[in-house]
Amino acid sequence: MIRGVELAEAGPVRRRARRVREAGLGYLLLLPALCVFGVFVFYPFARNFKLALYQTPPYPNLPSTYVGLHQVGQVLSSSNFLESLVTTVLFVVFIVPAGLLIGLFLAVVAQRQLRGIAAYRVIFSSTVVTSVAVSALVFYSLMNPVVGLLPWLGISPHPSVLENTTWALPAVAVMAVWQFIGMSFIIMSAGLQALPEDVLEAAKVDGASTWTSFWRVTVPLLSPTLFFALVVAMIYAFQTFGQIDILIGYQNAAYEHVNVLIYNIYTTLVYEENPGRAAVMSIALFAITLVLTVLQLRILERRVHYGR
């Protein structure tokens, strides 16, 4: 009798114990990541908003004063911020289409199984392993007024390209596009290789010329990849920092004309030691990228054709 009761209860109790153990293990496995996220992602994110509301004192060791949205308004309307914004937009508009188109072009040209094509593919992807510092130094030497290539090509503006208020931004943009080509090529190549062969053959048999077949069949089929590449390109463009730092740098006369938002945030934080301003600008940058991502998801995702 007693044993029967014990057995009847053992089942649900044992099961509950097992579930508790499983949950415990589940949470335990998430713990390391959650700790890192908590300290280095969520807390800073929240604190950033707080920082934006406090004006940094002109001298250190003084307490910062709460000024609320006043600082936000002030920073966002400052000419420094607005110029930075314009520069960033120009930069992104230059880099993203160029990077994507060149990558797509190279991927299409390298798509056939020709002899030696592997070597070409390696070359086209190679910029993906060049780090920021290496790429910047490479172009630093190419664009140097004395040592570089430009005088030979007939480009000798005064002051030199990397100190020139008009030419500095395009120069950095060219460098950024070059560095992005590798990644763009790899993404586009992968997308092209995944296209359904039989549909492309059907287009051939159905009478489509190479041009028609590319625009009416290949590109629509490639749209998920194009979308992904666009997102990656945008993130890359907005995060371009190291190249500016090495190619131009804070002391440079042209610095204000390449002062994209992320660079501005950095200099405000480190050189001007003004975390309040920096926080406001970083929130602005965050908001912009968030809006763009959502827009992309809304507008473009609808036109993206996902497989069969």
């Binding site: 549909v199 051939k204 048999v205 009478g207 010329s209």
Partner: protein, 362 residues
């Protein structure tokens, strides 16, 4: 008009010869089936007609014109792919219309043709759907519609039924035959399914390892297979093949095989005399379980199929023998020793060395 001619067509992939000097003439309006096991080269041959593979040797001519160097789009042929290859981002209507866009027809004419074809294949309710929203059978019909809307000189079909379930396959088979009959367009049809081949083809070309084995109307192929490969491949199950030798005595001529002997008619005996060692072929329906039979075998398994049964036996040397038994007969037990009678008129003789059918010199 839409005559297709293969002349010495050869295709190699590295060391492998996929198609070996193929000579084949597809008459205008004919539905010719390329039949063979996977890897026999039939799909490669089809793709060469489409222009999707280049030839290594030989020529292919469509309507009298050699097309070796002509682009697929200029060959005026339409293809139905095994995977249908529909444009996933276009509606059914636009899928069907696609081949017409490159031909300079105005919009009204295109719309008219698309609708006409849609009616023929029962696709009207689906014209605004995308392929992803259709069932397998519907997609297959869209693929067909896209092929016929162009009114090409020839259709190329690459195992179009293999992705359909059994019941649908039977139905669609009949539909395709009726359609082709009505349109009268030359059709080259590839399949590995010999039932499809037998029911659909005006003629069947059997391929094995890139080499054409035999081309003939279905019944001819069945009644007079040109070699042991064709004999074994056609028919469900295929012909039984046994190794044998001619034995003549006062009782008459027979072919001695493992487990006993097979009776030979006079003309067959004459053929056997001229040849060396033999391969004897008998279809399951020419065999019967009979206590007076001339072969001794043991039963391996009995497959009861309702209207008939296949009794699979084993001769002493291990050769399998399938005997067709009508419904209602007594089914033997597994492992039972039985005697099998052979109908002399149903015996086929092949040379043991090359597998070729033994025939009287015409």
């Amino acid at each position: 008009m839409g005559r297709l001619v293969f002349d010495g067509v050869t295709k190699r992939f590295g060391d492998v010869v996929a198609v070996d000097h193929l000579d084949l003439d597809v008459a205008d309006g004919e539905l010719l089936v390329l039949l063979g096991p996977s890897g026999c080269g039939k799909t490669t041959a089809l793709r060469m007609v489409a222009g999707l593979e280049a030839l290594d040797e030989g020529t292919i001519a469509i309507d009298g014109q050699v097309v070796n160097d002509v682009e697929p789009k200029d060959r005026d042929i339409a293809m139905v792919f095994q995977t249908y290859a529909l444009y996933p981002h276009l509606t059914v209507a636009r899928n069907i219309e696609f081949p017409l866009r490159q031909r300079g027809l105005d919009r009204e004419e295109r719309g008219r043709r698309v609708r006409e074809v849609a009616v023929t294949l029962g696709l009207e309710p689906y014209l605004n759907r995308k392929p992803g929203q259709l069932s397998g059978g519907q997609r297959q019909r869209v693929a067909l519609a896209r092929a016929i809307v162009r009114q090409p000189q020839a259709f190329l079909m690459d195992e179009p039924l293999s992705n359909l379930d059994a019941a649908l396959r039977v139905q669609t088979r009949a539909d395709i035959v009726a359609l082709q009959d009505r349109l009268g367009t030359t059709t080259l049809y590839v399949t590995h399914d010999q039932v499809e081949a037998m029911t659909m083809g005006d003629r069947i070309a059997v391929l094995s390892a890139g080499v054409l084995q035999q081309v003939a109307p279905p019944q001819d192929l069945y009644d007079r297979p040109g070699n042991t490969f064709v004999a074994g491949f056609l028919g469900s199950p295929g012909m039984n093949l046994m190794g044998g030798a001619l034995v003549e005595d006062q009782a008459g001529a027979t072919a001695r095989v493992s487990g006993g002997s097979v009776p030979l008619t006079a003309d067959r005996a004459a053929l056997a005399r001229a040849a060396g060692s033999l391969t004897v072929g008998v279809r399951p329906e020419a065999l019967a379980l009979d206590p007076a039979g001339t072969l001794e075998a043991s039963v391996v398994i009995v497959e009861a199929l309702g209207a008939e049964a296949h009794v699979i036996c084993k001769l002493p040397d291990g050769t399998r023998l399938v005997v067709r038994q009508e419904a209602g007969r007594h089914r033997p037990q597994l492992g039972e020793a039985v005697r099998v009678a052979v109908e002399a008129s149903g015996v086929h003789l092949f040379g043991a060395a090359d597998g070729r059918r033994l025939e009287a010199a015409a």
